[in-house]
Symmetry: C2
Subunit: 228 residues, 2 copies
């Protein structure tokens, strides 16, 4: 069935930058393209927006279809529409970024995406389209945001140590942080609940904490300001 | 000439939230629609993206066509695409926000926009489409941003007093700020250059300052953190 319009229209897609954290480094989830163009190349999960669906719904549908991820933190990044960014013609893409917990690991992709895999932020393959550009913008947003607002809990296990939290911040910022200062600032807000649970293993047991979303939202209304 | 595609495509527009400051309050530039739908209603300046133009170019072109504004600060806000937001069918709009100096006042609009006028943020008329929603999102962005990054110089005359700068911050945040604390924080960065110029008039002369973009950019790299 053909669709005819008086004026030409760009095609509209969504693309998702999916961040994960393996305890040491920041990672990005990529899919290997199963169709042309860029057949066989690594790319961000994404696809065409349907006429009846909202933009966020399109992003969530594509994420689930291509990576099996559901119910993740998802926020709109920016829209990329420079003419020539897609060899198929004018394609405008609304980009999103997602934060994924270690327990939300994705299974394999569908026909559009023959494979899905995590890559360390420092060892990414060449990407299809302008996806390296979109990924760089998402990383910049995450780095900017974490300096004034404690985001990133969506990247940690539900119960975590302060050492894990610091490692996450260091991975995102790409530099070491002063431990004492970091703990003092974080604990000056009261949205981290200490638990009566400890890590076990070769190291000295460390106390686990839980993130309290209700207290976080109350603190967010007053406004956060970090300077790590 | 008709344009035919295998799959249906949404139409793509840009819309601009233009902020100004009259020395006392924050203002928004609106246009009165000269065409259907919403003929005669107030709306954000904007229009359809052309196939060969980049998204920012489309926003700047529409701004100039409808309000005569040129060379303003312009940043992408977010893309709005909920089905049903436009009675003409599926229309997805990439929204932008602009900051305009008092000396950049616009002239009248063109045929799509029969009139352009400033409105105080507290006394806005009902707007066409979902433009009240877009405007609220732009205001939230501006309020959030100003707390951790000194933006807003694009809203002031090139030479301004610290009292004017504080009035701008208070207008954006919608609440009074402690004067001593504000000056101390602002002057701790060195991007405000005091001039040998003073205000004249009925009040005690006040020193004028200039914004130094080069020093600002250097400070921005180190990172700003305000807490006003």
């Amino acid at each position: 069935m053909a669709h005819t319009y008086e004026f030409p229209r760009p095609a509209l897609t969504v693309d998702c930058v999916v961040f994960g954290f393996d305890g040491t480094g920041l990672q990005v989830l990529l899919i290997r393209r199963g169709i042309e163009p860029f057949l066989g190349a690594w790319a961000l999960p994404g696809g065409f927006v349907r006429m009846e669906e909202d933009l966020e719904d399109a992003a969530r549908r594509e994420l689930e279809e291509e990576t099996s991820l559901r119910d993740v933190f998802l926020e709109q990044l920016r829209t990329f529409g420079t003419p020539g960014r897609d060899p198929r013609g004018r394609v405008v893409s609304v980009a999103w970024y997602a934060l994924v917990r270690p327990d939300q690991h994705p299974a394999k992709g569908d026909t559009d995406a023959s494979e899905a895999a995590w890559f360390p932020i420092g060892g990414l393959p060449g990407l299809a389209f302008d996806h390296d550009h979109i990924l760089a913008a998402a990383l910049e947003r995450l780095r900017g945001k974490i300096r004034y607002q404690p985001v990133g809990f969506e990247l940690l296990p539900r119960h975590f140590t302060l050492t894990q939290l610091q490692a996450l911040y260091e991975a995102i910022l790409g530099r070491p942080i002063d431990k004492r200062n970091f703990r003092k600032k974080l604990l000056s807000f009261d949205f981290l609940t200490p638990l009566d649970e400890f890590t076990s293993g070769a190291h000295r047991p460390a106390r686990l904490h839980r993130f309290d979303r209700r207290k976080y939202d109350a603190a967010a209304k007053r406004g956060f300001l970090f300077d790590l």
